[in-house]
Structure formats: structure tokens, C-alpha cells
């Protein structure tokens, strides 16, 4: 059985789920009459659906008893009381900053731990050992301090972004950029928090660059590294957004 474009492109799944426009659906109907491989693939998709339908749907804790769940949620919410929420609605940037700083330290810890277990020769690995100043205290979280921690975050992110941008797509196999993908995935939450904190403080330039960085990290962590088109796509995104230059500009201008 040979393969064909419909099966390789993901169009067959889209057809199966009824997500092709009528003209394309008609074209695929015609194709199916002559393609045993695609017909078999469709039958397998239906079989997967049938088999999964036999599995019970679990939409509640055991015994459908929500009381324990709600009690534990209440306790966590009480312990997690967010400054600003009770009094007026918006989460303060300082609270986000404190959370982001915690996440940064967590990420740094993870990065250092990963260094011990991942490729010792990774170019990013040595740079990741750079000492990071302690994050500013909650009380001292003013705009300057926020800019300082975001600058640190940009510096660390550059390791990932430059690592991705510098790879040769013609030679890079999935394993060659797996390390950057892992780091991207781990930095994503921090980046999101910094972006929200920047928006909250009205720091549009930082928020904008964080948004671009978030997009690159999201793409890097989500894409299939065995797909040879993935890396060039991310590299195009980095170039199109001019991300490295923007991170440098924000760091230099302090805005």
C-alpha cells in the first residue's frame, strides 16, 4: 500500500471530522473510490472513534461527590488569597511580579537540573549557568525592578531563541533541537506571567516583546520536532518578528 498526499497532509482527518469545504470534500470523495489506503485509514479512524466510545466518561470525582473537591478548592483559594482581588478586582502587578519571580527561580532550577542530565556540550548550557540576581522583594517591586527582572528573562530566553535561530534546518534532526524545545516549554509560563504583569503596569513595549516571545516559545514547544518543516517555520517566525533585536532594544532602552 503506498501513501498519498491526503493521508500525509492531515486532510483526511479534516475530511473525517467534516471540516473540508464542499468542493474539496467532493474531490476527496472521488479520490477515495480509487484509493484503498485512504479508505482503510478512514475505517481505522471510525474504529478508533467506536472503540473510544466504549470507554466511560468520567466527569466528576468518585461517587459523583463534589463536596470534598469544593472544600479543598475553598481551602486553596483561602491560602492563595490574591492581593487586590477582594478590594477591587484587578490583580496587582506586584503580586504577579512576585509570582513571576518565583516561577523564574523555579525555571532556573529546572534549567540547571536539566544541564546535569542533558547534553553537556549544548551551547546554551554553559550560558545558563550565569548567576541570576535575586528577584526584587514584593515590597520593592517598582517599575525599575520589574524592568530588571524582565531583562534577565529576555537574556535567558535569548539562549533558546538564538539556539533555535542558529540551527541548520538541513542538518538538524529532531534530537538536535530537543533541548531548546524543552527549555521553551519550561519558560512559557514565566513569559506569560511577565507579559500579563507588563500589560497590568501599562508597559506596552515589554508586553509586546513578551507576546512575540510567548508565540515563539509556544510554537517551539508545541510543534512536532520530527516534522522537518517545524524548525524552518519557527526560524521564519523569529525573523519576521525580529525578536532578538526587539529583546535587545527593550533591554537597552529600559522601556
Amino acid at each position: 500500500m503506498t501513501t498519498c498526499d491526503y493521508r500525509e497532509s492531515g486532510d483526511l482527518e479534516a475530511y473525517f471530522y467534516g471540516e473540508r469545504p464542499p468542493a474539496e470534500r467532493h474531490r476527496l470523495d472521488t479520490h477515495l473510490r480509487g484509493c484503498a489506503g485512504c479508505r482503510a485509514a478512514l475505517e481505522e479512524l471510525a474504529a478508533i472513534g467506536d472503540a473510544l466510545e466504549t470507554m466511560p466518561v468520567v466527569a466528576a470525582p468518585e461517587g459523583a461527590n463534589w463536596s470534598g473537591f469544593m472544600e479543598r478548592l475553598d481551602a486553596r483559594l483561602a491560602a492563595d488569597a490574591v492581593p487586590g482581588r477582594r478590594g477591587g478586582g484587578r490583580v496587582s502587578a506586584a503580586a504577579l511580579l512576585a509570582l513571576a519571580a518565583t516561577l523564574t527561580l523555579t525555571t532556573l532550577g529546572v534549567m540547571l537540573a536539566m544541564q546535569a542530565t542533558h547534553r553537556a556540550d549544548a551551547p546554551a548550557a554553559a550560558a545558563a549557568q550565569t548567576a541570576v540576581p535575586a528577584p526584587p522583594s514584593f515590597e520593592a517591586a517598582d517599575t525599575a525592578a520589574f524592568q530588571a527582572v524582565t531583562e534577565e528573562h529576555f537574556e535567558r530566553s535569548k539562549l533558546v531563541v538564538l539556539g533555535l535561530a542558529a540551527k541548520d534546518p538541513a542538518r538538524a534532526g529532531a534530537a538536535d533541537w530537543g533541548y531548546e524545545r524543552e527549555l521553551a516549554a519550561r519558560m512559557l509560563t514565566d513569559t506569560r506571567m511577565y507579559r500579563m504583569a507588563a500589560e497590568d503596569r501599562g508597559l506596552g513595549s515589554i508586553a509586546s516583546v513578551m507576546r512575540d516571545l510567548e508565540l515563539v516559545l509556544l510554537q517551539a514547544s508545541f510543534t512536532d520536532d520530527r516534522d522537518p518543516a517545524s524548525l524552518p517555520r519557527i526560524q521564519r517566525l523569529i525573523r519576521r518578528r525580529d525578536l532578538v533585536a526587539k529583546m535587545d532594544a527593550v533591554s537597552l532602552s529600559g522601556l
Partner: protein, 192 residues
């Protein structure tokens, strides 16, 4: 007092605990269902669902009313699922599998023995396990498309991804499940 969803969101964002509880009660089944599908056991599903509502609580005031709350929630659930998995992997914790949970609760009545399972049921169990082994991105997209019936465009919007990326993730997930299905068929054929 109005209990429409936008009103509940506004009141909850302003610190009204009862309104927040109302939102939790409205959406907890959907959140739990997705979390259980992702994690495969109650222990982790509750952990994920709790994380989701904590995140919702923290960020309700940033919810934009021009989008669906359910789409926004899907995104939070899926991020929470992925974060949960990453935490476990990075901490070296072995996932608390459904099998382990079944053994712990020792509930044989709820678990039919192999002789009473239908072939479809066996396949369903095998595929569920295979879904649990999919990379988080693929698993997320597959669950949202197949289990939740969301369109590719809706998934892309909810996850903040390009539709092409969603399509490729779905394709990769289905490709892997089809391979597992064929392997199971071969095994079943050999047994007969």
C-alpha cells in the same frame, strides 16, 4: 440578582465568592472530564481541575467578554494539563496510572475481568492508554477535536496556535493511534 454568565464573571472578578462558586459549579464537570481524559485517573484529574480554578480565580479580571468563557476555560484546562505533566516529568514522578489507582481502590466490581471484556472495550482501553502516551500537544489537540468535538479553528483560537499547527498535531496523534490500533489487531489475530 442576575445569574447570567457575564454577570457571574463580573461579580466573581470583583471578589464575590458566591458568584465564583457559581462559575465553578457551572463548569466543573467539563473541566473534570477533560482533566480525567488527559490524566486517566481521579488523583491527577482533581489536581489539574483545582489548578484550573485557581488560575481562573487569579485571572478572571483579565477575561475579555468578547470571547466565550468556555473557550477561555479550555485553554486554561489544556495549559494546566500540560503544566501538570511537565511538573511530574521534571520531578521524576511516575504518572499515577489508572491501573495503579484501580489497584489502590481495590474495586473489582467496577473492573470487569478480561474474560468479560468485549473486544471493543479492550481496544478502547488500549487506545486510552496510547492517548496517555501521546506528547502533550498532540494529546491536547486530539482530545479537543475528538472528545470535545471542537473544530480545528476553535482549537487554534483556544490554544493560541495557527490552524495549520493544530492540523499537524491532530494528524500526528491520529497517525500514532492508527498504528497502535493496527498493532492491536495483529495481536488479536495472533491470539485467535
Amino acid at each position: 440578582m442576575s445569574s447570567s454568565e457575564p454577570a457571574l464573571v463580573s461579580r466573581a472578578a470583583a471578589g464575590d465568592a458566591a458568584a465564583f462558586q457559581g462559575l465553578v459549579e457551572r463548569h466543573r464537570s467539563m473541566v473534570y472530564r477533560l482533566a480525567y481524559r488527559f490524566a486517566g485517573n481521579h488523583y491527577d484529574a482533581e489536581d489539574i481541575a483545582q489548578d484550573v480554578f485557581i488560575k481562573v480565580y487569579r485571572s478572571l479580571d483579565r477575561f475579555r467578554h468578547d470571547s466565550q468563557l468556555s473557550s477561555w476555560l479550555y485553554r486554561i484546562v489544556m495549559n494546566a494539563c500540560i503544566d501538570h505533566r511537565r511538573r511530574h516529568v521534571s520531578a521524576g514522578v511516575r504518572p499515577f496510572g489508572a491501573e495503579a489507582e484501580r489497584r489502590m481502590h481495590d474495586t473489582p466490581a467496577a473492573t470487569p475481568g478480561p474474560e468479560t471484556r468485549t473486544y471493543a472495550g479492550e481496544l478502547g482501553g488500549m487506545l486510552t492508554a496510547e492517548i496517555g502516551r501521546l506528547p502533550p500537544g498532540q494529546r491536547t489537540v486530539f482530545l479537543m477535536r475528538h472528545e470535545e468535538g471542537m473544530k480545528l479553528g476553535e482549537i487554534a483560537t483556544a490554544l493560541g496556535l495557527a490552524e495549520g499547527t493544530v492540523k499537524r498535531q491532530l494528524h500526528a496523534a491520529v497517525h500514532r493511534l492508527r498504528r497502535a490500533l493496527n498493532a492491536a489487531k495483529v495481536t488479536a489475530g495472533e491470539r485467535v
